[in-house]
């Protein structure tokens, strides 16, 4: 059962990584990166590391998304001027 979960989550992570690289829209790429860190924390939990899973959950899903979005909005503002 655990093996099935690991294989399915790994496949979803690979697809999301491809999306994050090949997408033209930067915000969509940021969302794909968020999915990767979402599933990575479940994999850390399955490898018996709840500390790392909690760090990944707190940083990957909230803070890095916001930092990327701030950076993208600053770049867009510079391009508009």
């Amino acid at each position: 059962m655990i093996t099935i979960i690991v294989i399915v989550l790994g496949l979803i992570m690979i697809i999301a990584a491809f999306l994050a690289i090949y997408q033209k829209n930067l915000v969509a790429a940021v969302i794909s990166a968020g999915v990767i860190s979402l599933l990575a924390s479940i994999l850390y939990l399955l490898l018996a590391a709840p500390d790392v899973a909690m760090t990944e959950a707190a940083i990957g899903s909230g803070l890095t998304t916001v930092v990327f979005l701030y950076a993208i909005s600053k770049i867009k503002k510079k391009d508009g001027e």
Binding site: M1, I2, I4, I5, V8, I12, I15, A16, L19, N25, V27, A28, V30, I31, S32, G34, V35, L38, L39, S41, I42, L45, L46, P50, A53, M54, A57, A58, S61, G62, T65, V66, L69, Y70, I72, S73
Partner: protein, 86 residues
Amino acid sequence: MAEIIYNISAIIALAGMIIALYRMVKGPSIADKAIALDVMTIISISLIVYIAAISQKIIYTDVALVYALISFIGVIAIARYLERGL
């Protein structure tokens, strides 16, 4: 018997996650992708509690608590970026 039904439930939830991924690949607008991210977050909270239950460790549910309290901030940030309020 009961364990088999629990496993079937987890597999159905995983199938829901794959469908949400399809919407994230296809989704015409950014808002569609953000909805797919929201649904995947909810399903992963369920899966974390399932893993905590079948591996008999209470402390794993703390990770699910962090998820439920923090991950919606990312979706709100995407929404505020879209409406130019960031």
